[in-house]
C-alpha cells in the first residue's frame, strides 16, 4: 500500500535515492534511525506507560471510592500516587510529545529526517530501560518510591526506601534521553528547514517544540544535579539537604521547582502548537495572530524560570519573595490569555466542522482555561495557604494536564493519523471516544475542586466522611475515563486495519508541508527540499 502511493506520486524523490524500505521484523525497530519509526516507537511506548499509570490511578480511585481503608495499605497507596505522577509526567506525556515531534518536525520543515538519526534511536531506547528500572522498584523489598512525584528531601533521602537509588538512576536515564531528544530537535529545526522557510514562517508546532527543547536542555541538567545530590546525601555522607549536617531541605524544593516549573510548560507548550494547527484547519481560516502566538510562547517560556517558588509559598518566605512570585505567576496569564483569545478569534466566523480532532481541540481550549483559572487562584499567596496541598491543587494540575496536554496529544493523533497510516479512523467511533473522555474527565476532576476547597488533603488513602460523595463521583468518573482510553486503543487499531484510504490532504482545511506528501507519508520525507509556498505557510 505504502509503496504503491509512494512510487506513484513521488517519483522524483526516488530518482537520486534508490533505497530500501524498512528492515523486516524486530531488527527494524531496534536499529531504526528513521524519524517515523522512532516517532511510532515513542507514541506506542507512551501509550503503554499511559495505561500503566492509568492502572495506578484506578487503584488510587478504587481505594478512595469510600472512606476507610479497603483495598491497599497506606504504604502501597503512597507508592501508587508517586509512581502514577512520575510515569504520567516522564513516561506518558513527555515521550508522546517527543514522538509527535519525531513524526512531524522533519515533515513540517521539509527535511528528509532528523538531524542526528542514530542519537534519535539511542534517546528512545534508553526509555524502556529507565522505566523498567523504575517500575521494578515496586517489587523490591521495602517497596518503590513513596515520597510523591516531587521527591522532597528528607522524605526521599533520610526516610526513603532502599530502592531510591534505582529511582535516582532511572531519573538520570530519563534526563539523558530528554536532553538528547531536544538537541536533535533543535539541530533539525535550526539547520534543516526547506529554503524559504524563515523562522517567522515556521508552523507553530515547530515553534513551540523549538522553545520546549530549549527549556528541556536548560532544566534537565538541574534535575540531574538534584537527584545526584540526593544520591550523595544517601550514600556518601554529604549534607546537601540534611539540616543536621548544615544543609537545608528547603533548598531541595528550590532546586526541584527551578526544574519543575519549566517542566510543566514543557508539557503544555507543544500542546499549544498542536491546537494552533487543528483549530485553523477545521475553522478553515488562517490562525489569528501568528506573531503574537510566537511571542506569547516565548514569554511564557521566559516567565517559567522566575515563578518556581509559587509552589512553596507555605515554606516560610519573606513578604517580598511572596509578592514577587505571586506577581510573576499572574503575569503568565497574559501571554496565555493571548493564546486563548487568538484561538477563539480563529474560530470566529470560520466555517467550522466538528470532526474528532476539532472536538478535542475545542475541549482543550475550554478545559485548559478552567485549569488556568484555578492556577490563578492558587497564585494568590494569601489564599494559597488554604489551597496548598489540598485536592484543589490536584484538580488544578489534572485540568491542565489531562484535558490540556493529554487531549492535545489525542487530538494530534486523530489529526495526523491519516498522514501516518494512510487510512482514516472511523469518525463515529472517534466522536464516541471524545464524548466518553470529555464526560469522564469532568466527572473525575471537577468534584475535586470542591473537596479541595472543603479541605481534603492530597496524597491520603483515607479521609473524613464529609468528602465521601465527592470522592465517589470522582472515582466513577475515573473508571469511565480510564476505560474510554481502552476504547481509544480500539479506535486506533480499527483505523489502522480497516480504515478507508486517506487523501494526501486528509483534511481540506489543513495547511503545511506535511499535507503535500502522500498518505501514508513515504519512509523518507523530503529527499529534495520542497518549495515553501505561501499556500502552506501559516503566517
Amino acid at each position: 500500500m505504502s509503496e504503491v502511493i509512494h512510487a506513484g506520486q513521488q517519483d522524483d524523490h526516488h530518482d537520486d535515492h534508490h533505497d530500501h524500505g524498512p528492515d523486516k521484523g524486530l531488527a527494524r525497530w531496534l536499529f531504526t534511525t528513521n524519524h517515523k519509526d522512532i516517532g511510532t516507537l515513542y507514541l506506542w511506548f507512551s501509550f503503554a506507560m499511559f495505561l500503566v499509570g492509568g492502572v495506578m490511578a484506578l487503584i488510587i480511585r478504587t481505594e478512595l471510592f469510600q472512606p476507610g481503608l479497603q483495598f491497599v495499605n497506606p504504604e502501597f497507596f503512597n507508592q501508587m500516587t508517586t509512581n502514577h505522577g512520575l510515569i504520567m509526567v516522564f513516561g506518558a506525556i513527555m515521550p508522546a510529545f517527543v514522538g509527535l515531534a519525531n513524526w512531524l518536525v522533519p515533515m513540517q520543515v521539509g527535511a528528509p529526517d532528523m538531524a542526528l538519526p542514530r542519537m534519535n534511536n539511542l534517546s528512545f531506547w534508553i526509555l524502556p530501560f529507565a522505566f523498567g528500572i523504575m517500575i521494578s522498584t515496586l517489587f523490591m523489598e521495602g517497596g518503590g518510591p513513596n515520597f510523591g512525584w516531587t521527591f522532597y528531601a528528607p522524605l526521599s533521602t533520610t526516610y526513603a526506601p532502599d530502592s531510591v537509588t534505582f529511582f535516582i538512576f532511572a531519573v538520570h536515564l530519563m534526563g539523558a534521553s530528554s536532553i538528547m531528544g531536544s538537541i536533535n530537535i533543535i539541530a533539525t529545526i535550526l539547520n534543516m528547514r526547506a529554503p524559504g522557510m524563515t523562522l517567522m514562517k515556521m508552523p507553530l508546532f515547530i515553534w513551540t517544540w523549538l522553545i520546549t527543547a530549549y527549556l528541556l536542555i536548560a532544566v534537565m541538567p538541574v534535575l540531574a544535579g538534584a537527584v545526584t545530590m540526593m544520591l550523595f546525601d544517601i550514600h556518601f555522607g554529604t549534607s546537601f539537604f540534611n539540616a543536621a549536617g548544615g544543609g537545608d531541605p528547603v533548598m531541595f524544593q528550590h532546586i526541584f521547582w527551578f526544574f519543575g516549573h519549566p517542566e510543566v510548560y514543557i508539557m503544555i507548550l507543544p500542546a499549544f502548537g498542536v491546537i494552533s494547527h487543528i483549530i485553523p484547519a477545521f475553522a478553515r481560516k488562517t490562525l489569528f495572530g501568528y506573531d503574537s502566538m510566537v511571542y506569547a510562547v516565548a514569554s511564557i517560556a521566559f516567565l517559567s524560570f522566575i515563578v518556581w517558588a509559587h509552589h512553596m509559598f507555605t515554606v516560610g518566605m519573606p513578604l517580598a519573595g511572596q509578592l514577587f512570585f505571586m506577581y510573576t505567576t499572574m503575569l503568565i496569564a497574559i501571554p496565555t490569555g493571548v493564546k486563548v483569545f487568538n484561538w477563539t478569534a480563529t474560530m470566529w466566523r470560520g466555517s467550522m466542522t466538528f470532526e474528532t480532532p476539532m472536538l478535542f481541540a475545542i475541549a482543550f481550549v475550554v478545559l485548559f482555561t478552567i485549569g488556568g483559572f484555578s492556577g490563578l487562584m492558587l497564585a494568590i499567596t494569601p489564599v494559597d495557604y488554604q489551597y496548598h496541598d489540598t485536592y484543589f491543587v490536584v484538580a488544578h494540575f489534572h485540568y491542565v494536564l489531562v484535558p490540556g496536554a493529554l487531549f492535545s496529544i489525542i487530538a494530534a493523533v486523530y489529526f495526523w493519523f491519516p498522514k501516518w497510516t494512510g487510512r482514516m479512523y472511523n469518525e463515529t467511533l472517534g466522536k464516541l471516544h471524545f464524548w466518553l473522555s470529555f464526560i469522564g474527565v469532568n466527572i473525575t476532576f471537577f468534584p475535586q475542586h470542591f473537596s479541595g476547597l472543603a479541605g481534603m488533603p492530597r496524597r491520603i488513602p483515607d479521609y473524613p466522611l464529609q468528602f465521601a460523595d465527592f470522592n465517589m463521583v470522582s472515582s466513577v468518573g475515573a473508571f469511565i475515563f480510564g476505560f474510554s482510553q481502552l476504547f481509544f486503543l480500539y479506535v486506533i487499531i480499527h483505523g489502522i486495519r480497516s480504515g478507508t484510504p486517506a487523501k494526501a490532504r486528509a483534511w481540506e482545511g489543513a495547511k503545511g508541508l506535511e499535507w503535500t506528501l502522500p498518505s501514508p507519508a513515504p519512509y523518507h520525507s523530503f529527499t529534495k527540499p520542497p518549495k515553501v509556498t505561501d499556500e502552506e505557510v501559516h503566517a
Binding site: 535515492h17 528528509p112 529526517d113 538531524a115 542526528l116 528528607p154 533520610t158 536532553i179 531536544s182 538537541i183 533543535i186 539541530a187 535550526l190 539547520n191 534543516m192 536542555i217 536548560a218 532544566v219 534537565m220 541538567p221 538541574v222 540531574a224 544535579g225 538534584a226 545530590m229 555522607g237 546537601f240 539540616a243 543536621a244 549536617g245 548544615g246 537545608d248 528547603v250 533548598m251 528550590h254 532546586i255 527551578f258 516560610g316 518566605m317 519573606p318 519573595g321 523518507h524 529527499t527
Partner: protein, 188 residues
C-alpha cells in the same frame, strides 16, 4: 540526504547545545553555594551566623526599648535526648549581652553525639541576632545518662528594625552519632 555544509552546521549547533547543557549542570551545583550565600546575606532561611565578637566598649544597650526573645527547643529525626532551656523567653534591650542556659540529657545507655541547628523568625531579625557563644557552634558528646548545661550568650543588635518586638529562636537537636563515626565517640 544531508549535505556536507548542512552536517557541519549541525555539528556546530550540537556543540553549542552541549555547552548549554554543561553550563546548566554547573549552574545546578552552583546553586548550593549561591543559596547559602544568599541566605547568609539576607538571613532569609533564619539561620543565625557564627561566633560574634563583642566589644563592650563600643556597644551600649538601647534602653529605650525591650525585645522579647522566646526559646523553642525540639528534637528531630528520632533524637531521644531530653533538651530544654532554663527559660521560655527573656526580655532584653538591644545591644545588651544576655546569657541563657540550655540543657541536654542523654537518656540512653550508649555514648551519643548531638548537634543543634538554630532557626529564627522573623527572618528580618536574623542579621541582627548575634551570638558570642552557642552550643550550636559545636557538637555535644554525652556519656550514658549524662546531663550537660550549655550556656548561650547573645546580643540583639541595636540596628534591629523597630517593628520587631519579639523574636523566636528555635533549636532542633539532631542525633549525628552515626555520621560522626565510632572514632568521634570513643575519642571524645
Amino acid at each position: 540526504m544531508t549535505t556536507n555544509a548542512q552536517s557541519s552546521e549541525i555539528k556546530r549547533t550540537v556543540r553549542k547545545l552541549c555547552l548549554i547543557v554543561l553550563a546548566m549542570a554547573a549552574f545546578a551545583w552552583a546553586l548550593v553555594p549561591l543559596y547559602d550565600l544568599f541566605c547568609e546575606i539576607t538571613g532569609l532561611n533564619g539561620k543565625t551566623g557564627g561566633p560574634y565578637t563583642y566589644d563592650p566598649a563600643t556597644t551600649s544597650p538601647d534602653t529605650s526599648r525591650l525585645v522579647k526573645v522566646n526559646f523553642i527547643t525540639n528534637t528531630n529525626q528520632g533524637m531521644v535526648w531530653d533538651f530544654w532551656s532554663e527559660k521560655g523567653g527573656v526580655r532584653v534591650h538591644p545591644g545588651e549581652l544576655k546569657e541563657v542556659n540550655f540543657y541536654v540529657k542523654n537518656t540512653t545507655d550508649r555514648v551519643m553525639v548531638g548537634q543543634a541547628i538554630p532557626s529564627l523568625v522573623p527572618v528580618s531579625a536574623t542579621q541582627y541576632f548575634h551570638k558570642t557563644e552557642c552550643f550550636c557552634f559545636n557538637q555535644q558528646i554525652l556519656q550514658p545518662g549524662e546531663e550537660m548545661a550549655m550556656p548561650m550568650r547573645f546580643i540583639v543588635g541595636r540596628e534591629l528594625p523597630k517593628n520587631v518586638q519579639s523574636i523566636n529562636l528555635s533549636y532542633a537537636l539532631f542525633d549525628i552519632t552515626e555520621a560522626m563515626g565510632d572514632a568521634a565517640v570513643t575519642g571524645g
